[in-house]
């Protein structure tokens, strides 16, 4: 155990911090759920890529820096400290990219990875269907092999970014006789293909971060299949796997929220109810604990360890922490906390309401916390299936 950063790690941090200080936009970009904001975020991805900071953990051959996971954590810490924009292409960079490196053909890698890195192709993900949410294996959308093409039919939903994205990755049922997680195939689909219809889904705040995607006899070439036919579940599980999930929820995200909460508390301390002090301390503690646990996990992975059902512990911890932090902030803000960001008196506190609404999705997406608790109970604690 050695909890000091090495000189090399410090140097990497300095380099990242310097670049980010020089390049992070001074003003926050508009929401990426608007056309204007999406374009601005895509431009930011290009800027990152120009500095070779878009995918630091990718191999250099694909435009990354090939850094290890500790360095990736350091980069994320600097990224959040700098208040840099959200990653509009996170589905591509963190989920599909690494999966392509593992399962893709050379042609697929050459075709997709550079454009993904450069922000030229922004990727949406299409996991869920209306009747396959928590029950992810209940997929019904079909892909029928017809010569050198697949013909796609069906519907995907909760496809984040799909309104403005260029491509989507999905799993389809290629064997109509198959049940559950067998007979599925992982396919990459351009969102401008004929027969694809994207319907934005308005969220409860009125924004459209999600969409439904309808496939009506959509033809895609066989080359768009990732992995073998019928292996879709395994490829999808790899995509959703722990290391990649980790990248979407780096500790710095929660530590930066905790730091903002601490600052808010200091502003409000005089009039705040004394009970809130302890709530702020707990939020800070849990953000630290999440960070420490990630360093522990990463240390283990770097020593050849692997991670399985523990990912479910993580999911529960960060999602509950995120809700708790935002609830505490709203308690501190009292009536002001309900103002929308553009209200005259909202100042800079309107962000907490936005963040609260987003945090409430945490215990739901990426596998509800109920599903995660089943996984922990059955796989880690050995309790019998129902």
């Amino acid at each position: 155990m050695d909890l000091t950063f090495t000189p090399e790690e410090d140097a990497f941090r300095r380099e990242a911090r310097g670049w980010l200080e020089a390049h992070v936009p001074a003003k926050p970009l508009p929401s990426m759920d608007t056309a204007e904001g999406f374009a601005a975020h895509r431009a930011w991805e290009r800027t990152l890529n120009d500095g070779r900071w878009a995918m630091v953990s990718w191999p250099e051959a694909y435009g990354g820096r090939g850094v290890n996971l500790i360095e990736w954590l350091i980069f994320e810490e600097e990224y959040f400290r700098a208040g840099a924009p959200g990653r509009v292409n996170q589905n591509g960079i963190f989920l599909l990219g690494p999966t392509l490196m593992d399962y893709g053909t050379d042609a697929q890698k050459a075709r997709h990875l550079p454009r993904m890195a450069a922000g030229e192709d922004v990727w949406a993900q299409g996991w869920s269907e209306p009747n396959a949410g928590s029950d992810m294996a209940a997929i019904r959308a079909t892909a029928r092999l017809d010569g050198d093409h697949y013909v796609l039919n069906g519907q995907k939903t909760w496809c984040s970014r799909a309104v403005f994205a260029d491509w989507i990755f999905c799993i389809f049922r290629t064997d109509p006789e198959s049940q559950r997680h067998r007979g599925l195939t992982f396919i990459l689909v351009p969102l401008d293909a004929e027969g694809v219809k994207v319907r934005p889904i308005a969220q409860l705040d009125g924004e459209t971060g999600f969409a439904e995607v309808f496939f009506d006899d959509v033809h895609v070439p066989v080359e768009n299949r990732l992995g073998d036919e019928g292996a879709g579940w395994r490829v999808a599980m790899a995509t959703a796997g722990f290391e990649r999930g980790l990248m979407l929820r780096s500790p710095a995200r929660f530590q930066s929220t905790a730091a903002r909460l601490v600052a808010l508390y200091k502003d409000e301390a005089e009039q705040a109810d004394p009970a809130l002090r302890d709530a702020v301390v707990r939020a800070w503690m849990d953000a630290e604990a999440y960070c420490l646990n990630t360093y522990r996990t990463v240390s283990r992975l770097m020593s050849g360890g692997s991670i399985g059902a523990e990912a479910s512990l993580n999911k529960i911890f960060w999602s509950e922490l995120d809700v708790h932090m935002h609830e505490t902030a709203l308690s501190l803000l009292e009536a002001r906390g309900q103002l929308l960001p553009h209200a005259p008196d909202a100042g800079n506190v309107g962000r907490w309401l936005d963040g609260y609404l987003f945090s409430l999705a945490g215990p739901i997406y990426a596998g509800t916390n109920e599903i995660q608790r089943n996984v922990i109970a059955e796989r880690l604690l050995g309790l019998p299936k129902a």
Partner: protein
């Protein structure tokens, strides 16, 4: 000793519920949101026809002369319907305050209009930053001066004489305004101790009305989630058959059910203006808000991603819960008020247990 509503009170609640279910379904609420004011004069007139707007008005002004015990169940229904109209502001707070402080002429000018559905009221208190639905209130009852100092006064100011700054908030059913205005002798309707007493009572009435609505909202959220859980299937069975879903909804129902008697008792203490009023109202507001906030979280979790969308109605009630939770004192504010009475002043007797023999 009887903690029970009369058959008449329960029957009126039933008829209000039926009326609101018919007149105020989500489809209409959504259409209202798209109008400029977000409120409907036609619907306001229907509320008058139902007798709701006249409930607290003195009989001499055409009202029903009822009190908070009569009103509390109606306010619960208003919460359950997520009604977008300043009923609480007008009926629960405005009319009683006007009746207590307004000159006979002022009362005669305004109260009959309220009863007839031709006017609405709202109320601003220094302990809360916003005036709710001020844009559709014809007369604003406003607190001037501090809480207890010699400058304290109640003013009645027509909307045309103030400047309203809209503060867009999360809940379309209750718009928030900062009111900029100048107190003047012409608008002043009470001063000194009379004003102080009336304002404290009006604040408690507003908190009680919020509590009543929150109980209705909480129950509605539980019912919506239970209904969804009965329909939605995953893994080949309704999700409501999973114990995780059952237990989280059952836990919410416990909090909702135990907020009710607290609410009803608070309504009685306001109606009778007993010594326990402040503690009872704070208890009701804190307990109702806790139930409603827990109900919102749980109902969303039960719905999953679909509950997070604009097109599913769930958010209508969630937003109402979040807004009313922090209106007229947060849970912590009210618990702190109880704490001062129970822990510092020893001024709060326990119901029954502390009764004098």
């Amino acid at each position: 000793m009887e903690l029970l509503f009369t058959d008449d009170q329960l029957a009126f609640q039933e008829s209000v519920r039926g009326f609101l279910q018919k007149e105020c379904e989500p489809e209409r609420l959504r259409k209202l949101w798209e109008t400029e004011s977000g409120r409907s004069p036609e619907f306001w007139a229907k509320l008058a026809e139902m007798g709701i707007l006249g409930m607290t008005a003195p009989e001499e002004h055409g009202g029903l002369g009822m009190n908070e015990v009569d009103l509390v169940l109606v306010l619960e229904e208003i919460g359950r319907a997520a009604l977008a109209a300043p009923v609480a502001e007008t009926v629960a707070v405005g009319v009683p305050l006007l009746a207590a402080c307004g000159s006979p002429a002022l009362q005669a000018e305004w109260i009959p209009k309220v009863v007839a559905g031709e006017a609405a009221l709202s109320f601003g208190h220094a302990d809360t930053p916003f005036v709710h639905d001020a844009h559709v209130a014809d007369l604003l009852l406003l607190h001037a001066g501090g809480r207890t100092d010699s400058d304290i006064a109640v003013h009645a100011v027509p909307r045309g004489d103030v400047t309203l700054v809209h503060e867009p908030g999360n809940d379309p059913a209750g718009r928030l305004y900062r009111v900029e205005w100048q107190p003047s002798p012409e608008t002043r309707i009470a001063t000194g101790a009379v004003a102080g007493t009336a304002l404290a009572l009006a604040f408690d009435r507003a908190a009680l009305a919020a509590a009543a609505q929150l109980v209705g909202i909480a129950q509605q959220l539980v019912d919506l989630a239970a209904h969804y859980a009965t329909q939605r299937e995953q893994f080949g069975r309704p999700i409501g058959s999973f114990q995780a879903i059952k237990h989280m909804l059952a836990s919410v129902q416990v909090r909702v059910e135990f907020a009710r008697p607290v609410l009803y008792r608070a309504a009685w203490t306001v109606a009778e203006d007993t010594a326990e009023r402040m503690v009872a109202v704070s208890h009701a507001k804190a307990a109702a808000a806790e139930a409603a906030i827990l109900a919102a979280r749980t109902a969303l979790q039960v719905h999953g991603a679909i509950g997070y969308t604009w097109e599913v109605d769930l958010h209508i009630w969630m937003k109402r819960a979040w807004a009313l939770d922090v209106a007229w004192g947060t849970r912590l504010w009210h618990r702190a008020r109880i704490g001062r009475a129970v822990l510092d002043d020893s001024a709060a007797p326990s119901f029954g247990y502390s009764a004098r023999a």
